[in-house]
């Protein structure tokens, strides 16, 4: 499966299925996003920034699918002009896309079951205003019938020497409140679905992690953290056993720490809309200086109040009739 942001110009589509998480022999399953990012860079040789050579600052967003019974989704960017562009095909449960660099601005994305026509009704639409010099993760949690979303702010600042930075995301919908402990720092106690912890500094190395759900589910895994990395550890439902699983997502690594994730695939729109001097636009939205496709993107909705920090036009837009 492909977790890369698609390139809306012919001939440069990312390669399919760059790395399957299951082929990586980590005790804790690794998210696809970090690997997909590398593939995107390899495919898009003309990209302005090589891996690990991040420009300081900038805005970036990625999408995380943590809803166990929601099918794989195609992610579309929506323009104020009504045009929709498929930017991220087939993002499935437990997958996290790579970061998409953007200019600060207002953006909208819509999501449809993978393979659905672009003309079909979207399952949800999300809108948000993205600040400059900030990285975000847009995450969907819970069961499809009660889908909740959150726009997380990812602090990718580099850890100090010999250390890593980690945060916990509780994405298990069936376990009830979850405790997550290590043989070092305590990660979480009684974390409800959608809980997102602050990044904590932890010594690099291998840590034993125990996750316990209120429903009795229990999981013990080892978490290997390399020095200089910034990671999110996600507690998820395990669809086969009905228990828990841990997903380790590398948010930034090495020289990436403090940066903004992957460079944009060639041809990817990079500008927010010029909101024409609108009230919120003064210092928060600009297209000046961007070199990408002039962007008719729009509005993104963040949503349902799970600690949204930067979203402006919130709310999931789900048509019911």
């Amino acid at each position: 499966m492909d977790r890369n942001w698609a390139i809306p110009q012919g001939g440069t589509a990312p390669a399919a299925d760059p790395t399957t998480p299951a082929t990586r022999h980590h005790r804790i399953r690794r998210a696809a996003g970090a690997f997909a990012m590398l593939t995107a860079l390899a495919v898009c040789a003309a990209l302005p920034a090589p891996a690990g050579a991040k420009a300081a600052g900038g805005t970036a967003i990625r999408v995380a699918h943590f809803s166990i019974d929601t099918p794989a989704m195609d992610i579309y960017a929506t323009g104020f002009d009504g045009n929709e562009t498929l930017v991220l095909p087939k993002l499935g449960f437990g997958e996290v896309s790579e970061y998409l660099p953007l200019d600060a601005g207002i953006y909208a994305f819509s999501m449809r079951p993978a393979g659905s026509p672009a003309t079909s009704d979207a399952v949800l639409r999300v809108s948000a205003e993205l600040d400059g010099d900030t990285s975000y993760t847009f995450a969907a949690f819970g069961h499809q019938a009660e889908l909740a979303t959150d726009l997380l702010t990812d602090d990718l600042s580099a850890p100090s020497a010999g250390r890593a930075r980690v945060r916990l995301i509780q994405g298990a919908a069936d376990a009830g409140a979850v405790d997550v402990v290590t043989d070092g720092p305590l990660f979480a106690h009684g974390a409800a679905l959608g809980t997102v912890g602050d990044y904590v500094s932890i010594a690099a190395g291998s840590w034993e992690v125990t996750a316990s759900g209120e429903d009795g589910a229990r999981l013990v895994e080892r978490l290997d953290l390399e020095a200089g990395t910034v990671s999110s550890v996600v507690v998820l439902d395990e669809p086969t056993s009905g228990g828990l699983q841990l997903l380790s997502v590398t948010d930034a690594a090495g020289a990436d720490a403090g940066g903004q994730g992957a460079a944009a695939p060639a041809g990817m729109p990079v500008g927010g809309v010029d909101t024409g001097g609108g009230a919120m636009a003064a210092d928060r939205t600009s297209t000046s200086g961007h070199s990408g496709v002039p962007l008719p993107w729009l509005v993104l909705g963040s949503a349902a109040g799970l600690g949204v920090t930067a979203a402006v036009l919130g709310g999931i837009w789900r048509r019911t009739g």
């Binding site: 929506t78 323009g79 104020f80 002009d81 009504g82 929709e84 207002i106 909208a108 819509s110 009704d121 979207a122 639409r125 809108s127 205003e129 600040d131 809309v273 010029d274 909101t275 024409g276 001097g277 609108g278 009230a279 919120m280 636009a281 003064a282 210092d283 939205t285 002039p294 962007l295 008719p296 729009l298 509005v299 909705g301 963040s302 949204v308 979203a311 402006v312 036009l313 919130g314 709310g315 999931i316 837009w317 048509r319 019911t320 009739g321």
Partner: protein
């Protein structure tokens, strides 16, 4: 492309000539633009006008009020489930983009309009 100009080309939004011109020249508040654009993703033919708020005619403030005369070809009606859906959407926004008032008002010709008004812009705390 400016958001307002882009919105003016959105086939799901049938703007009056005056409203389209106001969109193109950037005379509409971004919150209004955002709401219209989002609504247009699912609702066809939302027809918009941007009446000035009394006292703001001569100011440089972009329009922060919009009148919708029909959605999906249906006249605005308070007992239409679609109306409740729209109000729920508007009320569900984050505070910075939440309308301060939503009401059905008569047009000059007596037709019902869905009027959405936003408060004076306040730059959110960073």
């Amino acid at each position: 492309m400016a958001a307002g100009s882009a919105l003016a080309t959105n086939p799901a939004i049938d703007s009056s000539p005056g409203a389209a011109e106001q969109l193109r020249r950037g005379g509409v508040d971004v919150r209004v633009l955002a709401v219209l654009a989002t609504l247009a993703t699912d609702y066809q033919r939302a027809i918009a006008g941007f009446p000035a708020i009394p006292g703001e005619h001569e100011t440089a403030l972009p329009a922060r009020r919009v009148d919708l005369s029909s959605i999906d070809g249906r006249a605005v009606a308070g007992d239409d489930p679609l109306f409740d859906e729209l109000v729920a959407f508007l009320e569900g926004q984050n505070p910075e983009f939440r309308a301060t008032d939503t009401a059905i008002v008569p047009s000059d010709q007596g037709e019902p309009l869905l009027r959405i008004t936003f408060g004076l812009p306040v730059e959110p705390a960073s």
